[in-house]
Amino acid sequence: MSSVISARGLTKRYGKRIAVDGIDFEIPAGRIVGLIGPNGSGKTTTLKAALGLVPFEGHLEVLGFDPRTQRDDLMQDVCFIADVAILPRWLRVKDAVDFVEGVHPRFNRERAERYIANTKLEPGMKVRQMSKGMIVQLHLALVMAIDARLLVLDEPTLGLDIIYRKQFYQNLLEDYFDEQKTIVITTHQVEEVEHILTDLMFIRDGRIVLAASMEEVGERYIEVMVSQDKVSAANALQPIDRRTVFGKSVMLFDSAGGVSRQQLAALGETRNPSVADLFVATMKGTYA
């Protein structure tokens, strides 16, 4: 099987409002994809459609299953953290581990216990006694111990402090991920995930505005620290974004627009843009 998720003309309407507007995309196996878009852009709706949580129109196949009609089969191989999901308040840490072990054939108890041991969680603790961060830690420990072929993380680290967030993404990459697995992440903290992503998908107003591997992004987008005397020459090459840092102009170019790397190197120091800068530039409306 080539694609883990394959969408063609995926559309989701809420009454008259179109949340997802006929998008096409393919996500191959063994990738870590960042699905990035502003609030209300349709990213959560897209993920919900893929997880069989909402009905939709168009064609969508996840691990070869139709999420509308084959959700029960699909869930054997998929795990997810939904952005608004919360663990029930009455659940105890040890009961949660027992339950997931009982119902999930791919759950690794030792692994979950190892993650839990790294936190302040106690086996007898109930969710109602936990801080927001601790609840997320428990949820992540459970999910990371499931050997799923597709893992969908919708804002997985909300409420976590930065130390744990860094550690989580490191575990995700080193412990969890391998070539058989696929991870789709959405988050507002783009700078924390960009070094682990293999692919990038920008979504805006229910449409995909950029879908590329990180290598392609690195080749295609070039940021130039333009020297003072070459600003007008640089502007002539139609940068997709420009900003000023300490009095210096920083411009972002799309080499698909016809400018070459050599041309740009003549204007000043070149480098790869950060995903956050690229995202801001893309979402501005100057380029869509």
Partner: protein, 328 residues
């Protein structure tokens, strides 16, 4: 059907509703034993009547010894050993309340606290989840109640025997030898299938409302049938006056409303089909065996199975709602 998953789903329901399913009946059972048992001991110990007339036989107490005719002694023991479970009636009343509120809350609570998205991230189908909740309501909760009722009633029977034996009436032997003592709990267990058939319309309706209502499921669950009744009442009133022909519509409507709201009350099947002779007090106390046969007799009515089918359909609808409802 994966039985291991089902076992964990039932366990999960028990964790969540341990307070109302287990602790509440346990506390009530404890209070029953304490208050009724204490009352028996105190009443019979301190104030055992010197002349007691039971069923036309007069007991004379000479000092503390009461000479009771052997056949009367047998009669008391038989009544005690066949009807002792009646002492636990408050537990069954509590059970009806607990099951009602459980069914109304269970599919609503998981949507309200958004834990539904966690449960749905695991390989557990909606059908199995809804089934586990229905089984918790109609099988697990009654089983817990039957066990607690049996234990507490046996304790009370023991206290009664103890109290009268202090006064010289020895019933232990007769009570222990009475087959009814052992058969009564089994009869309760045997009634469970009858209970499921009559409870399903109510369980189905309440769980359907629970999975459908955005808020305040209790208002929908009770309000819809009541408003429906009002509408029917008004319509029949108009029809009776215009057509001059009395219709039976109101009769059916109130029957349906009763079925979807009171089906979880144990023994309610008699009110749906007419009380049998066995429930009326007879010369011999009452015959618990006939309670069983008359209960199963209610299953011979078409009403029982029409309700069962409608209940099952509502449960299915609750499952479909849980499957496709977008939780925002």
């Amino acid at each position: 059907m994966n039985t291991k998953t089902m076992k964990w789903l039932l366990q999960r329901e028990f964790w969540e509703y341990k307070g109302s399913m287990f602790w509440a009946p346990l506390i009530v059972a404890g209070l029953l034993v304490l208050l009724m048992g204490g009352g028996l001991l105190y009443g019979l110990g301190q104030h055992f009547p010197s002349r007691l007339t039971i069923d036309g036989h007069t007991l004379e107490s000479g000092g503390h010894t009461v000479r009771v005719a052997i056949d009367l002694q047998h009669k008391i023991a038989r009544v005690a050993s066949s009807a002792y479970l009646g002492a636990a009636a408050p537990l069954f009343a509590l059970m009806a309340v607990v099951i009602f509120s459980y069914c109304l809350g269970t599919l609503h609570d998981e949507r309200r606290d958004r834990s539904i998205l966690f449960w749905k991230s695991l390989p557990v189908s909606d059908g199995m989840t809804v089934l586990s909740k229905a089984a918790t309501a109609m099988i697990v909760a009654p089983l817990i109640t039957i066990v607690l009722a049996t234990v507490s009633s046996l304790l009370l029977l023991f206290v009664l025997c103890l109290a009268v034996s202090l006064n010289g009436v020895h019933m232990f032997g007769i009570v222990l030898a009475s087959p009814d003592l052992y058969l009564s709990p089994l009869r309760l267990l045997a009634l469970l299938p009858v209970y499921v058939v009559w409870a399903l319309p109510t369980v189905g309706w309440l769980m359907l409302v629970s999975s459908w209502a955005r808020s305040k499921p209790i208002l929908w669950a009770v309000g819809v049938p009541l408003i429906g009744l009002l509408v029917v009442k008004w319509a029949t009133f108009a029809m009776d006056n215009l057509a001059g022909e009395p219709s039976n519509l109101m009769h059916y409507a109130s029957g349906a409303a009763a079925r979807i709201l009171t089906g979880v009350v144990p023994g309610i099947w008699y009110s749906f089909t007419g009380a049998p002779a066995a429930l009326r007090p007879s010369d011999d106390g009452f015959d618990p065996g006939s309670l069983l046969t008359s209960s199963y007799g209610t299953l011979a009515t078409a009403d029982a199975w029409i309700g069962f089918a409608i209940g099952a359909a509502m449960l299915y609808a609750a499952m479909r709602l849980r499957r496709y409802r977008d939780e925002g």
